[in-house]
């Protein structure tokens, strides 16, 4: 009997956490900026998964007799410095960034959520020490921290995923910690404590489901910045490595010939990168609005 009355607040809070999410979906499907962003994302997602099977040329095949040729009927986006078909490369170029960026976001969100839950739930000296360490991480420009570690460990896809993920973790942790702080003193947490549930169980099964909306929003925002950061790292030579058709890498390889008027070698990669980051951002912003309503 007493067990039932104590459990009640936890059960009651569950539908309250669910409702905004279900209403949010309906709101999202009526938001033009969400639909535009999602359509662009879907396009690049399909390219990332299937482009090699439908592009007209092998994105890696050079053609040294046909270098830097302008856009034409055979080569819609022209060819690059070693005669590779730019159209085929731009479409297949979505693959690396759309693999690495979501994985890095996943690493950052999971690590950041864990840190945020622990610091927010326990508070005290753990919170003080971890908080200070995170602030130091945040006091350096992200790209510089990523550079520092990538130089030390050498650039490879798993390293980029882990480094960018860990660089983002403090930002996620900050958001999660704030959300935990506003939940920690609610009745359902007290009820679980009285029931004798352990700290870990309370954090994962009680608090976490209730703070999912801000975590989802944070993850989408981070995905946008992960694409930004990884594309920049690839451009600098510390991300995706040649001969990948990755956009940042292609721009780095070809921007030297821009002054010569060979604009087609970089412009399409530029448009592709910009469209992807703006699309993710539109989705993130619409999600944020929908979930906060």
């Amino acid at each position: 009997m007493s067990d039932l009355t104590v459990r009640a607040p936890a059960e009651m809070s569950a539908p309250a956490a669910d409702r905004p999410q279900r209403g949010a979906l309906a709101t999202l499907l009526r938001t033009p900026s969400f639909l535009v962003g999602a359509a662009i994302l879907l396009f690049w997602g399909v390219c990332a998964a299937f482009a090699p099977s439908f592009v007209p040329y092998d994105p890696y095949a050079d053609d040294l007799l046909n270098t830097l040729s302008p856009p034409s009927a055979e080569h819609w986006f022209g060819t690059d410095q070693i005669g590779r078909d730019v159209f085929s490369r731009v479409l297949t170029g979505a693959r690396d960034i759309l693999t690495i960026a979501p994985l890095a976001t996943l690493v950052g969100t999971v690590a950041g959520t864990a840190i945020g839950l622990v610091t927010g739930y326990f508070g005290g000296w753990i919170d003080a020490i971890v908080g200070r360490l995170l602030e130091v991480m945040l006091s350096l420009p992200l790209i510089i921290v990523a550079l520092l570690v990538l130089v030390a460990l050498g650039p490879s896809t798993p390293t980029v995923v882990v480094v960018v993920g860990l660089v983002f973790a403090p930002l996620v942790a900050r958001t999660v910690r704030a959300a935990v702080l506003s939940e920690r003193h609610l009745d359902y947490v007290a009820a679980a404590t009285v029931r004798g549930e352990g700290a870990f169980t309370i954090m994962v099964t009680e608090i976490l489901p209730n703070i999912l909306p801000p975590i989802i929003v944070e993850a989408t925002v981070r995905l946008g910045y992960a694409i930004f950061t990884i594309a920049s790292l690839s451009f600098l030579g510390f991300g995706v490595q040649p001969p990948s058709p990755d956009w940042g890498l292609s721009i780095a390889e070809n921007y030297g010939v821009l002054v010569g008027g060979f604009w087609w070698t970089v412009v399409f990669d530029t448009i592709a990168t910009a469209s992807l980051v703006v699309a993710v951002n539109l989705v993130a912003e619409s999600l944020q609005r929908a979930l906060s309503e």
């Binding site: 350096l140 790209i143 130089v151 921007y255 910009a274």
Partner: protein, 321 residues
Amino acid sequence: MPHALGRFFAKRLGLSLLTLWLLSVVVFLGTQVLPGDPARAILGPLADPRAVAALNEQLGADRPPVEIYLSWVGGLLTGDMGQSYAYRSPVAPFIGAALVNSLKLAGMVFLIVVPLGIGAGVLAALHAGRPLDRAISVAGLSLTVIPEFVSSIALILVFAVLLRWLPLSATWPTGAGPLVQMQHLLLPALPLVIVLFGYIARMTRAGTVEALSADYTRTAVLKGLPWRTVLSRHVLRNALLPTITVIAAQMGYALGGLVVVESLFRYQGIGSLVLGAARAKDFAMLQAGILVIGGFFVVTTLAADLATAMLDPRLRTGGRR
């Protein structure tokens, strides 16, 4: 009252020093402990073990890590940043010259983005909820996520290649006056303006909307002050407080963005110096460059906190908001 302000300053200063110290540990771990063996990292996996051992001895990397750290920090405190492996000369003069160049570029960025961002933010707030507000917000949010190298390519193509309005190179001829220097810095500054504009506009808009609906604004309007006076004396003075902190935080970000922009426009700043050091595995230069960037960020954040405290009577008297 000044007592509370003094304590606030002392606390902030203490936290900044602590952050600086932790920063030095992080940088040290990243450049000395993580690579395991600096000489092996420099010479590559195929190098002769004897050459590696000799280079480690020359770099002083064969000592225990704590000893290396202490001598590095001791050197920093006396102005000795160590020896560059790539240039075979002291690091400090390179850092100094590069920092001056970077500050010129960052100054150019802020000269453009601060009035533009604040102006757009106030404009959006005055039209809150209407299409102009939505347009400024969406444009700001979308521009913020465009990587600098992407917008740089577009800007180079339009302004340097097609229209030929602006010089492509960021480096001006020797002995050029301030105006010519600014002309050369305009194109490299714009990609960072594009990234930073959204943040500043958004913060200004939020602050202005809040101030517009505040009681003191209503009182000022009701007592018959001209709208222009209400806006400048009551609304903006309160609205711009949080914006100062954001601008300072963006200074730190700008220095990170400089890595991309400076290397793209071949400008000799702290960003391209750090990138060059990273590519050459010149650890002494990398350590010093990153520490200077982090230290610069700590100093600007501290300055912003102090400026906010001086301007905000609630913080000045020790009251919490």
